[in-house]
Symmetry: C2
Subunit: 290 residues, 2 copies
């Protein structure tokens, strides 16, 4: 009989996020065996070769069988089809969690696939990552001292929530809980909106006649500001669609404030400009002290 | 008789930018003596103690006397009053340049102060800087391999342009020339607009009810994206006012494009989203390869 927190873990999507979770749990002695599932056999073989997973399986319905913990680490746009593969073989002792950047859409996808809200479903979102992707970039320390947001449902069993919490704590992470609506609003503000601004800015500049000089004359600040515009376009397409309502609302809020700032510039409103810049600088400096 | 490129240099405003210029020219053996001018005696004494300047003077009309090169490294909002102090003692062999981030307003300020456009006025803008400020942060290597944009006027004498160019080249910089209008448009796009977006974003988030969670849940991408919101509020107030026309135009262009992106999210327009993100990522990645 296994003394591990998790007996048989299935990671669906063994990339940076899923691979690092497997590595961290193995390193912590918190898992007995890891099944890696995905569509790309060569990729899964690489993960096995690296010792990230113990078994590989391209058929998701087969992969999750006998697993007490299933982690969906696939793009948001693939969640529903993965849930549909799990549904026919789902058991009461199979806990299901995910790592998606938007949570409302994941729950909706699960409800559509399962025709109910499974008691063992505990949506999650690790606030961690690097610019790299793929299992080769995964490492056991990715989640150390990073925040994991869980958004348990009213239907979620406390045992399931507790086990998902313990899983992330075993990786050295700090687990916090909030509601789905709150998560999606806060992430729209702090992550999804900034990505839209960076993508949109770079695209606006790239379409200008002076494109060449613009990038020629850009300094270090521009490099930092636009780094997130190098993020994976497909992933961000999925996030936009999945968190549409909260994101469109945040873009509106931001645009309204930017218009006020533009008016202040046009009207030489020194007081408004200085107050805005000072408030922002203070908030930013305080954030960095944290 | 001096063998130096510059015999007597006056730096008005001995901070990071002005101080680093003096250090670089001294290190290159390109200047015979440096007069530091400013309002704060203690600050100038510090600059002298550090060997950045040889003489100090709080009276600008006195400071520039006998100088063959005068560099204005003061905030944009102070340019006109400095020009007014120089005007009564201006001589034909006194070359005047500046380091302001907007060029149209500097030329206007000079024209108002001198009642003409001096032939020896050569506006300039080094694309260099660090997050620090003050003479203590200055160093001789700041301009090595950095771009300096000169915006000579139709009235500028070729000798004056040539000497300002040589001054910056002696600091290891690459000098490029463009028109005032073009400079101000390109800088609005590549520097002034991003600063407005960063300030406005942080301020929008800081005003939200969920402020605490927003900054709590923010990840590394947010830190990079908002770094420029830590910039000096007074300096950025001056830049906004000085480059108002080009900046308001760029904010409008950006806002229009952001609205199109928001519409695409709202309408699930996957093609528009993916194409925009891919174009932006490509432009950003190419910029970083440069």
């Amino acid at each position: 009989m296994s003394q591990h927190l998790i007996n048989r873990l299935c990671i669906i999507g063994v990339g940076l996020i899923g691979g690092s979770l497997a590595r961290a749990l193995k390193k912590a002695g918190a898992v007995s065996e890891v099944v890696g599932a995905g569509r790309d056999v060569a990729h899964l073989e690489k993960a096995k070769e690296l010792g990230v997973i113990d078994h590989l399986e391209t058929d998701i319905s087969q992969a999750v069988k006998g697993c007490d913990m299933v982690v969906l680490a696939v793009p948001l746009g693939a969640m529903q089809s993965v849930f549909e593969r799990i549904a026919p073989v789902m058991t009461d002792d199979m806990i299901i969690t995910d790592v998606g950047s938007a949570k409302g859409s994941v729950v909706k996808a699960a409800q559509l696939a399962f025709n109910t809200t499974p008691e063992t479903l505990v949506p999650g979102h690790p606030i961690a990552g690097t610019e790299k992707s793929g299992v080769e970039a995964s490492f056991a320390e990715l989640y150390q001292n990073r925040r994991i947001i869980l958004t348990p449902l009213e239907t979620s069993s406390s045992d399931a929530v507790s086990k998902v919490r313990s899983m992330w704590q075993a990786c050295g992470a700090e687990v916090v809980e909030t509601s789905i609506e709150h998560h999606d609003e806060v992430l729209a503000a702090t992550s999804h909106l900034p990505h839209m601004l960076a993508y949109s800015l770079v695209d606006t500049l790239a379409k200008m006649d002076e494109k060449k000089e613009i990038f020629d004359f850009a300094a270090g600040g521009f490099r930092d500001f636009t780094r997130i515009a190098s993020s994976d376009p497909d992933m961000w397409h999925d996030i936009c669609i999945s968190n549409k309502d909260a994101l469109v609302k945040m873009i509106k809020k931001f645009s309204d404030d930017l218009q006020l700032l533009s008016n202040a510039i046009e009207n030489n409103d020194s007081e408004y400009l200085k107050e805005t810049f000072e408030r922002a600088k203070k908030a930013r400096d305080e954030f960095c002290d944290m």
